[in-house]
Amino acid sequence: MSGQAQLLPGTLDLLILKAVSLGPLHGYGILLRIGQISEQALLIEQGALYPALFRLVRQGLLKASWGTSENNRRAKFYELTSLGRKRLREETDGWNRLATAIASALAAQPEEI
């Protein structure tokens, strides 16, 4: 599992919002989508997804409705609310700024100082 990275605390919510922003998904679908868009690099414990999902619903960032999945099973589908969309934008910007800053900090060479 050397190609997989541990999730940083707080990033799970961001990943869920991102995954759902590409179209309504049920819980298992969200896991698959995160695996797909991260090219299987990020590992999420299956059960740990749900407390996070419920938290996001409670914060009004996601809304949920029952529907039928591609496997023809009943499943609960999540989609972004407008508040969730706004939050995703803010968090993405914040993450990018942080990532750039960390990357440039780590790329620093002795002669640049």
Binding site: Q46, G47, Y50, F54, V57, R58, N71, K76
Partner: protein
């Protein structure tokens, strides 16, 4: 917006918890199905795929719980879950649950009852508007509440601190509503009484100050609500009706509201009558005599903005004026204020001290019960350490486990509290209608109110958390891996555990309770044994009300003599005498006395205040009061003969220096009359059983007449047999004369009421303490035997003797018992000082009490360790060792 969403979700959780729960369950199942679908597609069969999917999903229960928390509004949900779990756990061990609930029910019940009485007598003021500004006036350093009527008038008219001052008296009258005349207890009050207390009539009108125009000018009656209900059947037409009071016509003006029971908390009058009609009510009018302090109490509301201290200095300046102007009658006219409900501090202070002490003891009972349950809970938690460890290993939070334990504790305490409260409410209602004495209007309204319920609830919750907290440390320190591995606790050790400490505390508390109840019982026994100065056995009292039958002046002594002679002729009666008011009766008459060479007869020069008894010549013989020297009276000691008296030993010691040569000497009364001592009688008890020796004098009725007449009949054998003959004789003498027959022993019940109540309440608490110590020691001993069965088995297999086995099994419990008892005994000795107020010669440094306590505690120890000891001795080592 977010807040709104939160509340909506909380509301949804609250109102539809099972729906949400089902929703979540279905979603998680759907997840696992989808995963299984994928795994199936990769080649696994369906069953294997589903199994794998479940394993991959991880701790189902934990995620569900976290999800639940994430959903918010889970408080109610988890609470009901905790409660359900707790109920299930408790149902698994019903005997433990029942024992715990019963223990708490008793402890909380005891507290609720004591608090109810405390609430009724001390915390709850008189039921009048603005009770906080209502004060009664006390006089002198002795805190006497009684005043004379002229002094009252001066206080009322000269003070600038009160909105008005009223005064009242308690007395009994005969009321004839047309049927059979019956005796009633009433309050004689000043005209302004209802206006000063700010009471409005329920029906009709009250009398007012404007109705008073001198003696017998206000023949009016105001009924209490209860008396109106009981005797006039709620008849609203009663207003304006004329009834006969001691044969005088009185008009019923109105009815007081139901919540106003008069101005004493512990007495219920039947009605109120203006005090200016004293002559018709009591048979004599003494309101003009400044030296006659027959007014029971003066009370009133302070003016707005006047502090009690200002009022006291105002009253004291009036007092100084009184001392100056009436030196013959008024000495030491300094005043203080007290709450009027318990008739001032004279009675209020000991009642308050005793009830506070009782509340303290009841609180100790609860603490002991909590210690008891705490150690039981700790033992249970230790037994369940495997379960706790498993739950921890499976991912349950420690907080969750603790919450479970607390739920059990609180559930038990609430159940116990409810049961205890139920019992105590019944008891308090019973107490509220109880009239402890057939001869007095004593009654205390201690009906439980919101405060009592609140206190019971609070105590239940507090005790639940108290004993629930005992095993907390244990749970927090549980190491799941160790316990699951080794299969048992590793906390062997001989160090002193919290449980040991709890047991010692509990036993000490119980020993305190046992000590104080023994002190009280012993005190009561002693006061029953003590010399009364008369012989109540085989004596009958006939209390007559000559004033109610219209006797006055010279007809009184004539009738007294006729009654004495007629009753003396009844076969079986040895002697008959009369007295105005027997000793140990409600209240007592006292008078200042002076040495013969005192010229200035102001009260401050008095040599003593002596109890005064006006008796017929045969009284001392009939009462069984021993005459130690000199002679008794004869019928020749009348108005025309020189004034004489029989005094008791204490009187002789105080006035004449010694009891031996007082006969023949003289002393003076406040009016200057010289009286010669003709006899010395033994000392006795006059006001109450716990009093110090008091001086007393007996005066012949012909020289100091009194309409109050109680006849004392000394008989051979059972005095009850005489009742019919006495009835017949009295009817023959005067069919219209109300009278009342009691044995003297019955009469003494009133004097013994206080010590009896104290002994009963302390006895109950002591019994509860004893029970708690037995269950506590039993729990500890049984637990330690069951925990060490294996060790004991090995010891026995290795050839240990019975003694050694017992030593190993119970030595610790007995050591703790001894230690706790010793501590409790010492504390109990200190605590018993509080009892000295009520109980006669309450001293715990009494060898009988000390041995009693030690023996009792040892007995409890034996009793409680008997069953565990039997169990330890009956061990079969071979089977025991095979089992594990």
């Amino acid at each position: 917006m977010k807040l709104l969403a939160y509340f909506r979700s909380v509301a949804a959780k609250f109102f539809r918890p099972s729906e949400i729960e089902g929703d979540m369950e279905e979603e998680l199942r759907s997840h696992i199905q989808h995963r299984a679908d994928d795994l199936e597609r990769s080649g696994l069969d369906r069953a294997e795929a589903e199994r794998r999917a479940r394993i991959e999903f991880g701790g189902h229960a934990r995620f569900k719980e976290e999800s639940r928390e994430a959903l918010g509004g889970n408080f109610i949900e988890t609470l009901s879950q905790d409660v359900r779990l707790a109920v299930r756990m408790l149902r698994k061990s019903p005997s433990f649950t029942v024992a715990a609930v019963l223990t708490l029910a008793l402890a909380i019940g005891a507290n609720a009852v004591v608090f109810g009485v405390l609430n009724g007598l001390i915390l709850r003021p008189l039921n009048v508007p603005q009770p906080e500004s209502l004060w009664g006036i006390e006089r002198g350093s002795g805190k006497a509440v009684n005043q004379s009527y002229p002094d009252y008038l001066d206080l009322r008219d000269r003070n600038r601190s009160f909105d008005g001052l009223a005064a009242y008296n308690v007395t009994s009258v005969g009321l004839d509503t047309g049927n059979n005349p019956s005796g009633s207890w009433i309050l004689e009050t000043t005209g302004n009484y209802f206006d000063v207390l700010r009471i409005q009539p329920y029906l009709g009108r009250f009398f007012h100050a404007s109705d008073e125009h001198g003696p017998n000018s206000a023949p009016y009656i105001v009924l209490t609500y209860a008396y109106w209900q009981a005797h006039f059947q709620d008849d609203r037409g009663v207003v304006g009706r004329v009834v006969r009071l001691n044969k005088h016509p009185f008009t019923i003006l109105g009815v007081a509201p139901p919540e106003f029971r008069g101005s004493l908390l512990f007495a219920v009058p039947d009605f109120w009558v203006p005090i200016v009609n004293q002559e018709q009510v009591e048979g004599s009018y003494v309101l003009n005599a400044r030296g006659n302090r027959g007014i029971l109490m003066v009370l009133g509301h302070l003016k707005a903005g006047v502090t009690p201290a200002q009022a006291i200095s105002d009253l004291n300046s009036i007092g100084a004026y009184l001392e100056r102007n009436y030196p013959k009658d008024d000495g030491q006219m300094t005043f203080s204020l007290a709450r009027p409900g318990l008739s001032g501090d004279w009675l209020g202070a000991p009642i308050r001290a005793f009830l506070t002490g009782l509340m303290l003891l009841a609180g100790l009972i609860l603490v002991a019960a909590c210690a008891n349950l705490g150690s039981l809970f700790a033992a249970r938690a230790a037994d369940r350490s495997r379960e706790v460890a498993l739950r921890l290993a499976l991912g349950s939070g420690r907080v969750r486990i603790l919450r479970g334990l607390f739920s059990e504790a609180v559930l038990i305490s609430l159940a116990g509290g409810a049961a205890g409260l139920w019992g105590s409410v019944a008891l308090l209602h019973g107490l509220s209608v109880w009239r402890p004495l057939p001869t007095a209007p004593l009654n205390v309204a201690v009906n439980p109110d919101a405060k009592v319920y609140g206190v019971a609830l609070l105590l239940s919750l507090a005790s639940g958390f108290l004993f629930g907290a005992v095993p907390v440390r244990q749970v927090l320190h549980t190491d799941p891996y160790e316990i699951v591995k080794s299969g048992s606790r590793t906390t062997g050790g001989r160090r002193i555990t919290a449980r040991d400490l709890l047991l010692v505390v509990q036993i000490a508390i119980c020993a305190v309770l046992v000590t104080s109840s023994m002190v009280a019982v012993r005190g009561l026994a002693r006061s029953l044994d003590s010399k009364f100065g008369f012989e109540p056995r085989n004596a009958t009292l006939v209390e007559t009300a000559l004033n109610m039958a219209g006797y006055s002046g010279d007809s009184v002594p004539a009738m007294q003599k006729r009654m004495i002679e007629a009753l003396g002729k009844i076969p079986g009666v040895k002697s008959v005498g009369s007295v105005d008011r027997p000793p140990l009766y409600y209240g007592a008459n006292g008078s200042n006395v002076f040495t013969d060479n005192t010229a200035d007869l102001r009260p401050s020069n008095a040599a003593a205040e002596a109890m005064t008894y006006n008796i017929s010549p045969e009284y001392l013989e009939a009462a069984g009061t021993a005459l130690l020297a000199g002679r008794a009276f004869t019928w020749h000691d009348d108005k025309n003969a020189p004034r004489v008296a029989v005094i008791n030993q204490e009187f002789a010691r105080k006035i004449f220096g010694s009891a031996t040569n007082a006969v023949g000497k003289y002393y003076k009364m406040p009016d200057g009359t010289r009286i010669q001592v003709v006899g010395i009688a033994e000392d006795g008890k006059y006001e109450h059983l716990a009093e110090d020796p008091e001086p007393a004098m007996f005066l012949p009725i012909q020289q100091s007449p009194s309409t109050q007449t109680v006849l004392v009949l000394r008989s051979e054998g059972d005095p009850e047999r005489l009742t019919a003959a006495i009835h017949r004789t009295m009817r023959d003498l005067d069919a219209g004369l109300p009278f009342d027959i009691r044995t003297w022993s019955q009469e003494l019940d009133s004097a013994l009421l206080g010590p009896r109540m104290a002994t009963i309440s302390l006895g109950v608490l002591g019994a509860m303490g004893a029970m708690l110590s037995i269950t506590g020691i039993f729990g500890m001993a049984a637990y330690s035997v069951s925990k060490r069965l294996k060790e004991l088995g090995i010891r026995m297999a290795l050839g240990a003797q019975r003694k050694e086995v017992l030593q190993a099994a119970l030595g610790r419990a007995l050591k703790l018992l001894a230690f706790g008892s010793a501590a409790g005994l010492i504390l109990g000795i200190l605590a018993s000082r509080v009892l000295a107020f009520i109980v006669y010669q309450a001293t715990p440094r009494d060898p009988l009490v000390l041995t009693g306590v030690v023996l009792a505690m040892a007995c409890f120890g034996l009793l409680a360790t008997w069953i565990p000891a039997q169990r330890a001795l009956s061990l079969e080592p071979s089977t025991l060792l095979r089992e594990e």
